[in-house]
């Protein structure tokens, strides 16, 4: 009897459901590769499978490039307004502020990169498509001014669809404003490095993005004056494979280098050292 008698287990507590946070897994937009989020992050948000450079938020990008504890945000008090009384603009701004944070379409910080002081602007595509309005222009102007006063190199990471339509011609004038700042840096021999990420088009590409003393681009980034859709429309035909990618621009002589995100920090450091007359860092002494 006893053989068959089922041993009475004490009642088990209901099995605890293992809570898997919703964002544990991430999927690559390009190849569909699914992996643990942490694996993407440790790989600078580049797909470990296909090397697709995924979009990064500005704060994360700053953290990736600058030395820990050195980051100081500047111009954080600036807010976009609605100078034209443009339909729906205040509502869109409000939503962007709620969803993408209060740095508008560019985060401007000062800090050190491999111990080199630098002014760093990082555009944030999450804020209204990285569109450039008055605040973006003013933040670049102030960051540039700061670099002028301190003789620090300037680096701008672009990600933008272009000028912000809702601020009309004032957005257009930000292109000239940025160019005016950069011409002053050039005059004082202060280096400016432009990094193009996906996408960099329109008024941003036709201004500071293409004015770097060095122009770097992330692999695969779409870069151009007109967006691919517009060109397709004017031509009435499909665009050639790879048209307007970083590699295409490299081939056409429009950028200096295509740089993988994991190598960007050291590349920026090397370039800045060359252009400011500093010795090479330990890793790059004479071979």
């Amino acid at each position: 009897m006893a053989w068959f008698r089922k041993e009475k287990k004490p009642p088990q507590p209901p099995r605890q459901r293992l809570e898997i946070p919703r964002d544990t897994w991430e999927k690559c937009e390009a190849c569909g590769h699914t992996d643990i989020r942490d694996k993407f992050l440790r790989n600078f948000n580049v797909c470990p499978e296909c090397d697709y450079h995924r979009r990064m938020r500005a704060h994360d990008y700053a953290g990736m490039l600058l030395d820990e504890g050195s980051v100081l945000e500047v111009g954080v008090e600036l807010r976009s307004t609605d100078p034209l009384g443009f339909p729906d603009y205040p509502g869109r701004l409000k939503r962007a502020l709620a969803n993408a944070g209060d740095s508008d379409a560019i985060l401007t910080v000062s800090g050190t990169l491999e111990s080199l002081p630098v002014g760093l602007g990082i555009m944030d595509f999450a804020f209204m498509g990285g569109s450039m309005g008055s605040v973006v222009g003013e933040k670049i102007a102030r960051l540039g001014q700061r670099c002028l006063e301190r003789k620090h190199p300037l680096v701008i990471i672009s990600a933008s669809g272009g000028a912000r339509m809702q601020e009309g011609v004032l957005s257009l004038m930000q292109m000239a404003k940025a160019a005016a700042v950069l011409s002053q840096l050039a005059e004082r021999r202060i280096p400016y490095i432009s990094v193009l990420t996906n996408p960099t088009t329109g008024g941003v590409s036709a201004s500071y993005a293409m004015l770097g003393d060095a122009i770097l681009a992330e692999p695969g980034a779409v870069i151009g004056f007109a967006g691919p859709r517009v060109i397709k429309q004017t031509l009435g035909q499909d665009l050639p494979e790879g048209f307007q990618t970083a590699e295409f621009l490299l081939d056409k002589g429009m950028v200096d280098r295509v740089v993988h995100r994991k190598e960007l920090r050291s590349m920026l450091s090397r370039l800045m050292r060359h252009m400011t007359g500093r010795p090479a860092s330990a890793g790059y002494t004479e071979a």
């Binding site: 034209l84 339909p87 011609v169 004038m173 404003k177 050039a186 870069i223 004056f225 060109i231």
Partner: protein, 321 residues
């Protein structure tokens, strides 16, 4: 192909035709019709004033794009003398969408550079509808640097729907060409005067527009994007009159809007009935404005000139802090 009549100008054109008819009749039969003509001409004048007083932004776009308006080469012929056109960017090819060269303004040498549209199909093909490729902007820059070397003021005339969007333009760096002009114009050591004479379309216009003084003709427009492009992106309809009208108003593109936004320095008045109704008077108004401002700017040392130009653009924009 004659430029089509603007819809809202129909009453003016009809009356003009009536007057012409009467004149022709009188000429044929040797009659004195002065008494009959006078009231008609008075009526024409009043009609022009009435119609042009209350143009909507969309109507101004139509006036600004009107092929009967004076173009860059018309102004060069009417307001300047001794024009020697210079061609080519020395790197790729000549771009006829931008013209430029030495000219004289009241006898003094200047470098004049402007977008050039065409009046008929053939010319528009040659001029690419006033939409430059990168080589056009590079030619413009070459001429500006030439002016700087010989210490001669630069006068630009802006009249373009925008920079060309196409394969070749992208391959040869449309963005870089425009950006380079903005950069170099921010440090050019001679006075620069820019005037929007028709349509100021986005970056393609600004690439000739970083100047010590920026003027707009009364019926010119200046915008970050075409009204059609804006309507297509925001309201998925770039064709209907209603949406184009909405975009034209929302973008604030008229000379008065830009003056209020402190983007331009002065509005150059047009003859009643628009620039196209009297090319001579329009060119005279341009000339007067250019000469007056040039006299002021010539007094400034290059260093101060450049500093003030930079400050002018550094102050543009509106934000809260």
């Amino acid at each position: 192909m004659a430029a089509p009549t603007l819809e809202f100008e129909r009453p003016i054109v009809d009356l003009e035709r009536q007057i012409d008819e009467l004149r022709r009749l009188a000429g044929d039969r040797d009659l004195d019709v002065a008494a009959e003509l006078a009231p008609l001409e008075q009526k024409l004048k009043e009609l022009r004033i009435a119609i042009y007083r209350d143009l909507t932004p969309l109507q101004r776009v139509q006036v600004a794009r009107n092929a009967k308006r004076p173009f860059t080469l018309d102004y060069i012929r009417l307001a300047f003398s001794d024009f020697v056109e210079l061609h080519g960017d020395r790197a790729f090819r000549e771009d006829a969408a931008i013209v430029g060269g030495w000219a004289r303004l009241e006898g003094e040498t200047v470098m004049v550079i402007g977008h050039q549209r065409g009046r008929d199909t053939k010319e528009n093909i040659k001029r690419n509808f006033g939409m430059p490729h990168p080589e056009g902007y590079r030619k413009a820059l070459r001429l500006m640097k030439l002016a700087e070397r010989f210490q001669v003021p630069v006068i630009t005339l802006i009249d373009t729907p925008g920079a060309w969007a196409g394969l070749g333009a992208e391959e040869r760096g449309q963005s870089e060409a425009i950006a380079r002009n903005l950069f170099e114009m921010s440090q050019l050591q001679v006075p620069i005067l820019a005037t929007v004479i028709g349509e100021g379309g986005s970056g393609g216009a600004l690439a000739l527009g970083v100047a010590d003084r920026v003027f707009m003709f009364e019926n010119a427009v200046y915008s970050v994007i075409t009204i059609e492009g804006c309507a297509a992106i925001l309201w998925k309809d770039g064709k209907s009159v209603e949406m184009r009208d909405k975009a034209a108003s929302a973008l604030r593109i008229t000379a008065h809007d830009l003056f209020d936004l402190r983007v331009i320095d002065e509005i150059i008045p047009e003859p009643v009935g628009g620039a196209h109704s009297d090319h001579d008077a329009t060119a005279t108004a341009l000339k007067e404005t250019l000469v007056r401002h040039l006299d002021e700017l010539k007094k400034l040392k290059p260093e101060r000139l450049v500093r003030k130009r930079r400050e002018k653009f550094m102050h543009m924009g509106q934000f809260i802090e």
